[in-house]
């Protein structure tokens, strides 16, 4: 490139600078929803009119389109709650199916605004360009065995053959458990998910090891009689699956964190999608603050005042979301366990709404 090329670049830079300087200041779109600063994720979302979220390719209970093509699942509802809070409509959300390898890159490059896709919060990921909000599901690694064996803990399956999928952290956990507890487990290793599961059901292995959420899903959808199988934890480690946002946008980070907080606080206060309208009349100051009857909290966050009301009305509190997608009202029937509120003995801690 010669001198002329450089001159053109210089001119273009000067021009764009001048244009940016005289562009009009952003006006609030409406009283209900203050507009975000230009260039921020909030502004982008408001401009597009939808929230763009990463989704799994197929993960029943967490993110999967139903037979009408409508996305459903615990992670999907996280995204819908953000849409309800920011845009007032839970359906103003779009889902991008991503593989495990694509997901973090898609978030970092701005292809998606939010990544609620069964992503474990690890230090390496946190340090490499994403911010994790709050865990919305605590998973663990589990064994599934036939109920007839009477096994209820790893020590009961000494000498058993276990179907393991290669290339996952499960493989390492399997080896650790077997070695630490001297269980002499015999691994039968496969390199694809469906072969691993088929081998377990055909009797090639006594046990199947993987994420407990996946085990529940497999048991519900692939076994002849789900009651013939039991699931128990392989170790005492919790695996926090956490929605993540990009580095460098504190406002958006805060919004997503408090959207989730609104859902667990609503459960804590007993507010459900069914009684939320009634609750608007409540005298309880905590409820009045959450539902925006007492103004100021939505504005502080940069969203509409009725943001939490919209989340609870359209998507529901955390308990409702859990039961509907993975809990007692779903096919998976996963016990609340670690995902109960702290009040009930779980790890979900509502932060003060004040």
């Amino acid at each position: 490139m010669g001198r002329r090329g450089l001159a053109i670049i210089g001119f273009a830079a000067a021009l764009s600078g001048a244009l940016a300087a005289c562009s009009p200041a952003p006006k609030p779109a409406s009283d209900a929803a203050p507009a975000g600063k230009a260039g921020s994720t909030l502004a982008t979302v408001q401009k597009h009119g939808y929230v763009s979220c990463g989704a799994s390719q197929a993960n029943a209970g967490f993110s999967l389109p139903d037979d009408k093509g409508y996305w459903r699942g615990l992670d999907i509802d996280m995204c819908r709650a953000v849409a309800a809070a920011v845009l007032g409509d839970q359906d103003k959300a779009r889902f991008v199916p991503l593989t495990g390898q694509q997901r973090l890159t898609a978030l970092q490059t701005g292809e998606i605004d939010l990544l609620p896709r069964t992503t474990t919060w690890t230090m390496a990921r946190d340090a490499n360009g994403v911010n994790f909000t709050f865990p919305n599901y605590y998973d663990y690694t589990g064994f599934m065995v036939r109920a007839a064996t009477g096994a209820t803990k790893p020590a009961d399956i000494k000498g058993a053959s276990v179907c393991v999928q290669t290339g996952s952290i499960t493989e390492v956990i399997f080896a650790d458990v077997s070695w630490r507890q001297k269980l002499d487990l015999k691994p039968v290793i496969f390199d694809n998910v469906s072969a691993t599961r088929q081998a377990f059901f055909s009797g090639r292995c006594d046990a199947l090891i993987t994420d407990a959420s996946a085990l529940y899903s497999v048991r519900a959808t692939q076994s002849k009689n789900p009651d013939d199988y039991v699931i128990f934890a392989a170790n005492d480690e919790a695996n926090p699956l956490t929605p993540a946002v990009r580095h460098g946008d504190d406002q958006w980070f805060d919004i997503v964190k408090w959207v989730f907080q609104a859902q667990i606080t609503a459960e804590y206060l007993g507010i459900t999608s069914a009684n939320v309208d009634e609750m608007l009349k409540s005298e309880d100051p905590a409820i009045r603050r959450l539902l925006g009857v007492e103004a100021g909290y939505g504005k502080a966050l940069g969203v509409r005042e009725d943001w939490a009301y919209q989340i609870i009305k359209q998507v529901g509190n955390y308990g409702e979301v859990y039961d509907r997608n993975v809990g007692k009202d779903s096919k998976l029937k996963i016990e609340r366990g670690l995902n109960r509120l702290q009040r009930d003995g779980g790890l979900m801690v509502p932060l003060p709404f004040s």
Binding site: N128, T149, I157, K158, G159, A160, S161, V164, T166, G167, E171, V172, F174, A175, D176, S178, W179, K186, P187, V188, I189, F190, D191, A199, S202, G203, R204, D206
Partner: protein, 322 residues
């Protein structure tokens, strides 16, 4: 003559240009790779070999525990590769010899059987054969709760074959424990599929090589040997085979190296050979370049060693020209 019309000069120019293009391609690839690795925050190096592997290996000739280092996991994988290659080479050679003899028989039934075998195994892909044997064991055999028990101490199940093993205290019989048979010798479905699949496939080729070698020796040689008064067996051992070996050995070298290379197909049935260990290592560490490099180096070394050994043997049986 004008210089660009000079053929010798043009040849040099073209060679320099070609070499330059090749070198710049290599440089460009190396530069790109380095830049991409740096962008993705990957570090290149073999430090990972000294870290604990942590993943399980389902069966191995050498002893292995997940607390061992990656370099030992590689060695264990290599041990499995060499083990399966050697027993397959041995079995396939014996089978191949039998096939060659069968196909040279005058009996049409024997000849037909040999031909059918060779054509069948040579004309279907090896991967398909491996998957077939694997499916035969895992789907065709009964569950461990109702095993096939043809002989005392021998059990055929979908989890493989359980056989009595020889030990210092005499026979070590497999005994049914809560989940599996304990003791004795267990041949896993993965091992059985690899062993049967590779052996039967290689035997078809080896049979043809041996038959070709025997048939290449002029018929007059046998006739002359018999005319000299040698017994048919002596004619075979002293005249026919020494001459046939000279023709057989070079293609046999390729065949043995093929068995070694084909053993990497263990990936499809899940037998933990060195390629399987490499794939897992790459998955766990992200060190893809180094993993593949080690794999290539190992195969290159063994193949060259096999070649050298077979060439030495060949020079011993070759026609001595003095």
């Amino acid at each position: 003559m004008v210089w660009w019309r000079d053929q010798k000069f043009r040849a040099i120019v073209f060679q320099v240009l070609a070499a330059g293009a090749f070198l710049s391609l290599i440089l460009w690839l190396t530069g790109n790779t380095a830049a991409n690795l740096a962008k993705r925050g990957l570090t290149v190096g073999f430090d990972f070999l000294g870290r604990a592997a942590r993943f399980p290996i389902s069966e191995s000739v050498l002893s292995y525990s997940p607390t061992d280092h990656f370099w030992w996991a590689y060695t264990v994988g290599l041990g499995n590769t060499l083990f399966i290659t050697m027993i397959v080479a041995l079995t396939a050679t014996v089978l191949g010899l039998m096939l060659a003899i069968l196909r040279r028989e005058d009996n049409p039934l024997a000849q037909g059987a040999g031909t059918t075998y060779v054509e069948f195994f040579r004309n279907t892909p090896l991967v398909v054969q491996l998957l077939f044997w694997y499916a035969l064991v895992t789907v065709g055999l009964p569950s461990i709760d109702a095993p096939l028990n043809p002989l005392p101490g021998v059990y055929l199940t979908e989890r493989g074959l359980y056989l009595p093993a020889l030990s210092l205290n005499g026979l070590d019989m497999p005994v049914r424990a809560k989940f599996n048979f304990e003791g004795g010798l267990n041949l896993s479905p993965e091992f059985v599929a690899m062993y049967l699949g590779l052996s039967l496939y290689a035997a078809a080729f080896i049979g043809e090589i041996i038959r070709g070698g025997l048939e290449a020796v002029a018929k007059g040689q046998t006739e002359a040997a018999l005319a000299l008064g040698l017994a048919p067996k002596q004619a075979l051992n002293l005249v026919l085979i020494p001459q046939a070996l000279r023709i057989i050995i070079p293609p046999m070298t390729s065949q043995y190296i093929n068995i070694l290379k084909n053993s990497t197909l263990a990936l499809v049935v899940g037998y933990p050979d060195i390629s399987f260990v490499t794939a897992t290592t790459i998955n766990q560490t992200g060190q893809a370049l180094e993993g593949i490099f080690i794999l290539m180096l190992v195969f290159f070394t063994i193949s060259i060693a096999t070649s050298v050994a077979m060439n030495l043997y060949n020079s011993r049986v070759a026609l001595k020209v003095r």
